[in-house]
Amino acid sequence: MDYHKPGSFEEATEIANNNNGITRFLAGGTDVLVQLRSDVLTPDVLIDMKHIEGVKDISFDDDGWHIGIAVSGAEMSEHKQLTKEWPGVVEAMDLIGSTQVQGRATLVGNLCNGSPAADAVPSLIAARAQVTVTGHNGTRTVNVEDIPVGPGKTSLLKGELVSALHLPKRTKNEADAYLRFIPRTEMDIAVVGCAVNLEIENDVIINARVSLGAVAPTALLLKTAAEKIIGSKLDDNALDQLAQEASKACKPINDKRGTIKFRTHVAGVLAKRTAKIAYDRARAVR
């Protein structure tokens, strides 16, 4: 295994493009090193991304938030303004692993690992997050929901890498939330995860994004479910319809963590609870 420490994304993509074996990018390493150590996968080329300028920065400008690809979960949770504006994204990231894992794990790593049960991914989809993809032929901007294509698989082409993650600018009356179901209280993989991002005006929901994780080969963006609560004040009728649509969208598997029936039911329950949290947050004065 060759280890590289490129100083730019262009250099990183060049190294990846010239390698005909297996390439892995190293940021937090909480997935890559586990795979390496359990002999699931030994890359021929390992590209450490942490020496590129700006990868540890969280910044804000007229376009919104920019989160560096090597920013850890702990660093996000410690950022007060980010936590205030994007509580759902921060709490989703914070649910991943232990304190030790939080010291290393990254949002972009969670996305590119391609797990259907990734906690941060539904929150990013609900947030309308986008990533900058750098490749041999320059850069392109991609919606987060278009990155995972199946368990462990992404739409990134050979040599391509995610070089930045962007969250939109917040207006005053918006908020998001993320909840997941696990059989224990901490340190487990989602049986179902749900993210809701809302914009309200005079207590009426005028914009909504709902996303589910761990109930299909990739995290889902639920357009119909979101439509059921747009125009409402999140009354019981709207919540029931949201739950119904959420359950309907599930295409889960049976595994040791949960059955198809259980996951389908819990998706509806979590959609309601998550929407309520997001709604209460949006109504609270910032």
């Binding site: 909480t30 090193l33 359990s38 450490d48 304190t99 030790q100």
Partner: protein, 159 residues
């Protein structure tokens, strides 16, 4: 396979070692630097027995490569005591019998020291969540939590 030369700082001392790029920082600490305090429990970041600090951030050293330590500041359990004088946490762990086999103890000491630096007045819930990534199969955790809470109280009163 070419070995890579790594310069780093461990418990305040400048050190250097040669390592294979696949070698974890845990293996480098134990096998190259003879710092065997950090233990390998699971090797997959679940058990916390290999906990160290990397630039003051608590991490599992089994999920860090040795080569990533270049230019960093590492803290291990060996750096917690002041010479022959045990750290208050270490004394309390003995007093409370907060260890039995001792495999998890170095990781728990490093983790709790990091917690108390950041949060000198933690609630019991905060301590339990902070230590969720440190597994102990002997004590049932209660003695550990009580030792940490008592140390935190002492440190606050003495500061």
């Amino acid at each position: 396979m070419n070995k890579i030369h790594v310069n780093t700082e461990v418990n305040g001392d400048d050190v250097e070692f040669l390592c294979d790029p696949r070698e974890t920082l845990l293996d480098a600490l134990r096998d190259q630097l003879n710092l065997t305090g950090a233990k390998e429990g699971c090797g997959t970041g679940d058990c916390g027995a290999c906990s160290i600090t990397l630039d003051d951030r608590l991490v599992c050293s089994c999920l860090v490569l040795g080569v990533e330590a270049e230019g960093k500041r590492i803290g291990t359990v060996e750096g917690i005591a002041n010479g022959e004088d045990l750290h208050p946490l270490q004394q309390k762990f003995i007093e409370y019998a907060a260890l039995q086999c001792g495999i998890c103890t170095p990781g728990i000491l490093v983790a709790t020291e990091a917690l108390l630096k950041k949060t000198p007045d933690p609630t019991e819930t905060q301590v339990r969540y902070w230590l969720a990534g440190n597994l102990c199969r002997c004590t049932g955790y209660d003695k550990i939590i009580r030792a940490v809470m008592d140390t935190a109280r002492d440190l606050r009163e003495n500061s």
